[in-house]
């Protein structure tokens, strides 16, 4: 065993290496996003994940080893959810004034998210067991996996589809809203959080604080509504 290889063998097993790789991938992705003036396609989540996955692939590192280090970053999702209270409190007057549009958009949005997925999947001949796993695709991962499991679906597939939906929404929300000439940042943020959960919310916070606040609210409310509506919607399949 050569000296260099021994160092690699040691480092590749410590949390330090993989935590550093995760942060470096994010810093690079964030620089790219800034350099392109936050272009939707240079979505930092997407770029950072792609970079990290490449490093894991090239080095042949098992995901469990990687997660030993990356868990420290993953852990921050909890505290980040808690601190959504800060902008929510700061903009409480704006939020209260928008209560009616929010509730209407919440209902329409969650029904469209569920119904369009079910109808389209049916039309394209996707089997029912798979449809059940993609029904909660707009909801945050943990909740979506729970819903899929209760309905007899595959939680892993649900998690993959949720992430894919998040990326799609995070990338497409800005161009779509520009195309539809919707300039109201509350509406844009709310749609991002409802359709694309945390990844959409992350995008919204990059655009602006108002968008972020409304995305955070939509993310929370939609998890709740979809948990109730999904079992109902799926009964229509049978």
């Amino acid at each position: 065993m050569t000296g260099d290889f021994a160092v690699w063998v040691y480092l590749s097993r410590t949390p330090l290496l993989w935590l550093t790789v995760t942060l470096m991938a994010y810093v690079v992705a964030d620089r790219i996003a800034t350099a392109t003036n936050r272009h939707p396609l240079a979505n930092p989540v997407l770029v950072a994940i792609a970079l990290t996955a490449c490093v894991l692939q090239v080095t042949g590192t098992p995901y469990a080893t990687y997660f030993e280090g990356a868990q420290f970053v993953h852990f921050l999702l909890g505290p980040a959810t808690v601190v959504l209270a800060i902008p929510l409190y700061a903009y409480r007057a704006t939020v209260v004034r928008a209560l009616a549009p929010m509730l209407a958009a919440l209902l329409v949005g969650s029904v469209v998210a569920l119904a369009s997925a079910l109808v389209l999947a049916r039309a394209l001949g996707i089997p029912d067991t798979v449809i059940v796993s993609i029904a909660p695709k707009s909801v945050t991962t943990g909740v979506a996996m729970g819903i899929a499991q209760t309905l007899g679906g595959d939680p892993t597939l649900a998690a993959v589809v949720v992430m894919l939906t998040g990326m799609t929404g995070g990338i497409l929300v800005t161009p779509l809203m520009n195309l539809l000439r919707i300039r109201d940042m509350r509406a844009r943020g709310f749609a991002a959080g409802l359709a694309a959960h945390g990844v959409g919310t992350a995008r919204a916070f990059q655009v602006g604080e108002i968008a972020g606040v409304f995305a955070g609210i939509a993310l929370g409310l939609n998890a709740f509504v979809t948990a109730i509506l999904a079992p109902l919607a799926v009964t229509f399949l049978r």
């Binding site: 929010m102 469209v112 919707i182 990844v199």
Partner: protein
């Protein structure tokens, strides 16, 4: 920063304990968010007392800036889970292109329907107002 993080973690811990203990259908951090909101309301109801009783970091805006730093880097926190998903793309490949089409079209429809409803209702409530 440490004082702010301590409060944030305390609130999350309390949220987790309550959801587990009472079997509530909300995730612990979401309940934690509600608890932090309650903290702000109580703190600002009696500013003088708060300034005397609480650690300075919780009343001088440092808690707020810690929180904003976390939220500004929300993208980073999806990287570990996302990298795991890349390894499981096989479950997706098994379903073929149809699944990708469903995700794409349904996400676009959801975004458009949600934003349009929001705008229409807010205009209908306050005609003439264009934010």
């Amino acid at each position: 920063m440490i004082v702010s993080l301590t409060l944030i973690l305390m609130v999350q811990l309390l949220g987790e304990a309550l959801t587990r203990g009472l079997n509530l259908p909300v995730p612990g951090p979401v309940l934690g968010m509600a608890l932090l909101l309650a903290f702000f309301v109580i703190r600002d109801r009696s500013p003088r007392l708060s300034r005397r009783m609480l650690p300075p970091a919780l009343v001088d805006g440092r808690l707020e800036s810690t929180g904003k730093t976390l939220l500004a880097n929300l993208s980073l926190m999806f990287v570990p889970a996302g990298a795991g998903i890349v390894g499981r793309l096989d479950v997706l490949a098994a379903q073929g292109v149809a699944l990708a089409v469903v995700v794409l079209v349904s996400t676009l429809l959801t975004l458009a329907a949600t934003a349009a409803t929001f705008v229409l209702v807010s205009r209908w409530m306050k005609p003439g107002e264009r934010p």
